[in-house]
């Protein structure tokens, strides 16, 4: 317990130093040099010539933007101006749909691959070739065949989430102890009963590990996918704020993406613990 408190204090200290340093470093020094009338400077294009950039937001600016977004996360003001909550909702919907579909395909297929050496031998080359392909490489093909950017994004999530679950399921199923299968055989349990009451629980921890990796990848990919397809979602939000040069909003979005990703991982982690067993 004392350890946790000490870790917590250290964490607060690190955050204070980092954010404090950032705050000070990003606060602009008082303007030097000849002051120009801003209107005049603009006419001359002087602001560009002087190389003035959109300033890096300070932590206080970011906190203010975060507060602003938190106050009304679910507003919809037209297609290009929707609340952060709405955008997150879109992303989550796509990730969960793609992930769910991937699980529906990967787990039964993984069973088949894990149980049949013939199927394993046949599908393994396909899996090995497709697995390392960046999911975004599928995007043009998806857009071309599906002709719907929203569904294409879901397809990209599906294709990236399927591999870890497929590989882990087949590995988990293939490594179920021979003796447990023998128990089922001596008890004359049929194939379905054996699959659901022996193989599935035996492989469940491995399958859940795959699912956890999958959802992590899906959440990584959705941001990039939404930057490409646009319209809605947290990835589109980031891209939109970049076009607006609203750097503080981008940082807020980054934080939110991290928090949601962590929440998804912990959710799956909890599910993994629920099906874990030890000998």
């Amino acid at each position: 317990m004392a350890l946790r408190i000490r870790s917590m204090l250290l964490l607060l200290l690190i955050l204070a130093v980092l954010l404090g340093g950032w705050q000070i470093a990003a606060t602009p020094a008082a303007a030097t040099g000849p002051a120009l009338d801003p209107e005049y400077a603009k006419l001359l294009g002087a602001s560009a010539q002087q190389g003035q950039q959109t300033p890096m937001p300070r932590p206080s600016d970011i906190a203010a933007r975060a507060w602003h977004h938190l106050q009304d996360p679910f507003y919809i003001h037209g297609a290009n101006d929707q609340g952060l909550g709405i955008q997150l909702g879109w992303s989550l919907l796509r990730v969960l749909t793609g992930f769910g579909l991937a699980a529906l395909v990967a787990i039964p297929l993984g069973f088949l691959v894990g149980m049949s050496p013939v199927v394993h031998g046949a599908l393994d080359p396909i899996i090995q070739v497709l697995r390392p392909v960046s999911p975004l490489a599928w995007m043009p093909l998806a857009l071309y065949t599906i002709r719907d950017s929203g569904i294409s994004a879901i397809f990209v999530i599906f294709i990236c989430a399927i591999w870890p679950m497929l590989l882990n399921t087949s590995f988990g199923v293939a490594s179920v102890r021979r003796e447990w299968l023998n128990v089922a055989r001596t008890l004359e349990a049929g194939p379905w009963r054996t699959a659901f009451t022996v193989i599935l629980p035996a492989a469940a921890p491995t399958i859940m590990t795959g699912a956890r990796i999958s959802i992590g990848i899906a959440w990584l990919v959705i941001v990039a996918a939404e930057m490409l397809v646009g319209g809605t979602g947290i990835g589109y939000f980031v891209w939109n704020q970049w076009n607006n040069l609203a750097i503080a909003d981008i940082v807020v979005a980054i934080l939110v993406i991290g928090l949601v990703g962590m929440a998804l991982d912990q959710l799956l982690g909890r599910a993994a613990r629920a099906v874990a067993w030890r000998e």
């Binding site: 102890r177 003796e179 447990w180 023998n182 128990v183 055989r185 001596t186 008890l187 004359e188 349990a189 009451t197 022996v198 629980p201 035996a202 469940a204 099906v275 067993w277 030890r278 000998e279």
Partner: protein, 285 residues
């Protein structure tokens, strides 16, 4: 020759062209307890797996009650050496899994009740809710025994069921099995490498030579009277002769008899010996 209830007829197993064992014949009558004893590598476990229907012999057949064995069946229960409990189920769940297999039409409550009763029988009522990881080695094997008995098999097969246990636990569990098997008049076949275990439990002890090309070289009839008690059995007349005979076999003859069969050898007529009776007769004379 009348066929025994369980009749093993000339089974063989080859590994890479060479026979591990071949021409193995023996019978087990109803209510009989038969043990098979031999060194590792002679295919003992394979013979048990063939009896269970988990493996098929490369030659020969097994006939039980007039029907040829073609696969695993609920009337043959196996107690595995490594207990083979399903680790995600509780002790009760493991037994209930077997009960449900036997009685598919039983409602949940009845299955649980029956499983609980069998767990009581092996003295595990208090540990019913615990997972295998939370049980000691002896308790795990008790669950394994309960799971086998729960389906009321006509043949109980045991693959060195106590070899992974410490001596004390092994003794208690042997007593337990002795009690359960004789109470139920259970037909049983056991693989072991423990001479005292075989003498305590079995009516007949098959002695198998070392592999490869192993065979059942002798059948020792255990004439020590029942009920047998682990505490006093070593004082029973004939016990020493019986024990020495088997130990001698394991130490020397399992090796010297290995390989080539003597002339006129017939796997169907394996010599039967009664060392205990012989010794008693000698002392009387």
């Amino acid at each position: 020759m009348a066929r025994a209830w369980l009749s093993v007829e000339g089974i063989a197993r080859r590994y890479g062209g060479r026979p591990v064992f071949r021409d193995v014949w023996f019978g087990v009558e109803r209510g009989e307890f038969v043990a098979l004893i031999g060194h590792s590598g002679c295919g003992k476990t394979t013979i048990l797996n063939i009896l269970a229907g988990l493996e098929a012999p490369d030659a020969g057949t097994i006939v039980i009650d007039g029907r040829q064995v073609s696969g695993p069946a609920l009337d043959r229960a196996v107690i595995f050496q490594s207990h083979a409990l399903l680790p995600w189920l509780s002790a009760l769940g493991n037994v209930a899994f077997a009960v449900r297999s036997r009685h598919r039409d039983w409602p949940r409550g009845r299955v649980q009740d029956h499983a609980r009763r069998v767990l009581d029988l092996v003295g595990l009522s208090d540990a019913a809710g615990r997972k295998p990881a939370e049980l000691s080695g002896g308790m795990k094997q008790r669950v394994g025994i309960a799971r086998a008995l729960a389906i009321e098999p006509s043949l109980l097969l045991m693959d060195e069921p106590f070899s992974a246990l410490d001596a004390l636990t092994r003794g208690t569990l042997q007593d337990e099995v002795l009690r359960l098997v004789s109470d139920a008049g259970q037909t049983a076949f056991m693989i072991t490498h423990d001479v005292d275990e075989a003498i305590l439990l079995a009516d007949r002890i098959l002695l198998i030579t070392n592999g490869p090309d192993a065979r059942v070289a002798e059948v020792v009839v255990n004439t020590l009277p029942r009920p047998r008690d682990r505490q006093t059995i070593h004082r029973t007349p004939g016990h020493y002769a019986l024990r020495n005979h088997i130990v001698d076999f394991l130490v020397t003859r399992s090796r010297t008899l290995a390989g080539a069969r003597p002339e006129g050898w017939d796997g169907r007529r394996v010599p039967e010996v009664r060392p205990a009776d012989l010794a008693i007769k000698e002392t009387i004379n």
